[in-house]
Amino acid sequence: MLDKNGIAKRIAKEVKDGMYVNLGIGIPTLVANYIPDGVNVVLQSENGILGMGPFPFEGEQDADLINAGKQTVTLLPGSSIFSSAVSFGMIRAQRVHLTILGAMEVSENGDIANWKIPGKMVKGMGGAMDLVASAKNIIVAMQHVNKAGESKLLPKCELPLTGINCVKKIVTELAVLDVLPQGGFRLLERAPGVSVEQIKNATAGKLVVEGEIPEMIL
């Protein structure tokens, strides 16, 4: 079974040289720590940065320079700054190649819910609806089951949706799965020490298991 950093490490392998990538809050942010040397990617932050760098050194933080999670960050050489309108313009125009974000639920046809729990949590969708509606490649980083032990990979989402038919791949503490165009979660890899049986038990939606399922290499 993987911890949060393990999930981030596995997702980092999906990030290819030359990509512009948007990382959501939480586990997706950790992906930046595991992108291998020699793989050149540009991180987009939807509040208006291309070329986002690491956190600043103590004392060098700048109130005018934050990421979409409102954390102080730095700029790398070659970075650029633009307005929120242009930022979502490049997302809508599909210039950003890969979006990695968290989710509360994903359905077997690729619907995602991650912005609202009616009566409990209403923080808003931020940029998530724009990202999932336009991105060509969306990877979800999340736990396979919620705190109550219920599967988050469902036949149909129960929470209010963020987007429909959009998730392409899911990486959890148990597995790597594809969302099939005709519907269903196709099991691609098992986390170290996790059996297919365990993954079956944790998946409420349709799970497609074909042949031997390899253990993931981190």
């Binding site: 932050s45 939807e46 509040n47 208006g48 940065i49 690491p54 956190f55 600043p56 050194f57 103590e58 004392g59 060098e60 933080q61 700048d62 109130a63 005018d64 320079l65 934050i66 990421n67 979409a68 999670g69 409102k70 954390q71 102080t72 960050v73 700029l75 700054i81 633009f82 307005s83 929120s84 309108a85 930022s87 979502f88 313009g89 997302i91 809508r92 619907d111 209403v122 923080k123 808003g124 969708m125 931020g126 940029g127 998530a128 609806m129 724009d130 509606a133 336009s134 209010p160 949706l161 963020t162 987007g163 429909i164 038919n165």
Partner: protein, 237 residues
């Protein structure tokens, strides 16, 4: 050149009355018009509809106008980190409309470009689509559904820039640009507060982010706290 300078924040906020709709720039606490928000608290106008990406924190930014219950309705994309906001929303005192962030930015930009409505795929198939026209459009060989969204029609825009000149030309600094740029273009009347106000001729025309034609009033903010919501740093070495 036409001179857009007003003497202080009170003069800048002249004409803002109860029940008006205001666009307020900034992302989180980054690039918010601090002096104008303080001015609105002092002015005591009520029943405001504020369109802003976030709602500040309890004791800073738009949170100040929530404390004094001057806001009737918020239109935002993300409103976490504000306990008083949550309390007013759950009790029904405050009306809240949550919309996708890109839709919010584009509704501002389109107002500045004179385009009354536009299609966007954000929110298709979600509760954001309820009551909206849906159009199926083929573009670049891809056919998908789009929601028809409207440009904002706001009484005033209140933005904060780094530098401005007396003709109202604005330059932003780093990510404090965010919503300030499209919002500056969107209001029927745009108020800009700046950290540094210079004479015409001192800004490079090639580097202006918002041309002064969009700005009706400009003033130098008395002071800037520039509070940081989350200081994240790494250790040296």
């Amino acid at each position: 050149m036409i001179n857009k300078v007003v003497k202080d924040v009170n003069a800048a906020l002249e004409g803002i009355t109860d029940n008006m709709t205001l666009l307020v720039g900034g992302f989180g606490l980054c690039g918010i018009p601090e002096n104008s928000i303080a001015g609105l608290v002092k002015k005591g106008v009520k029943g405001l509809t504020c369109i802003s990406n976030n709602a500040g924190v309890d004791d800073f930014g738009l949170g100040l106008l929530l404390q004094t219950k001057q806001i009737k309705k918020m239109i935002s994309s993300y409103v976490g980190e504000n306990a008083e906001f949550e309390r007013q929303m759950l009790s029904g005192e405050l009306e809240v409309e949550l919309i996708p962030q890109g839709t919010l930015a584009t509704r501002c930009l389109m107002a500045g470009l004179g385009i009354p409505f536009f299609p966007t795929p954000a929110g298709v198939g979600t509760e954001v689509a309820i009551g909206k026209e849906v159009k199926t459009i083929t573009y670049n060989g891809e056919t998908k559904d789009y929601l028809i969204e409207k440009a904002f029609e706001a009484d005033f825009s209140i933005v904060k820039a780094w530098k401005g000149d007396t003709a109202g030309n604005l330059i932003f600094r780093s990510t404090a640009r965010n919503f300030n740029e499209p919002m500056a273009m969107a209001g029927k009347i745009t108020i800009a507060e700046v950290e540094e106000l210079v004479e015409v001729g001192q800004l490079n025309p090639d580097q202006i982010h918002v041309p002064g034609i969009y700005v009706n009033r400009i003033f130098k903010g008395e002071q800037y706290e520039k509070r940081i919501e989350q200081i994240t740093v790494r250790k040296r070495g």
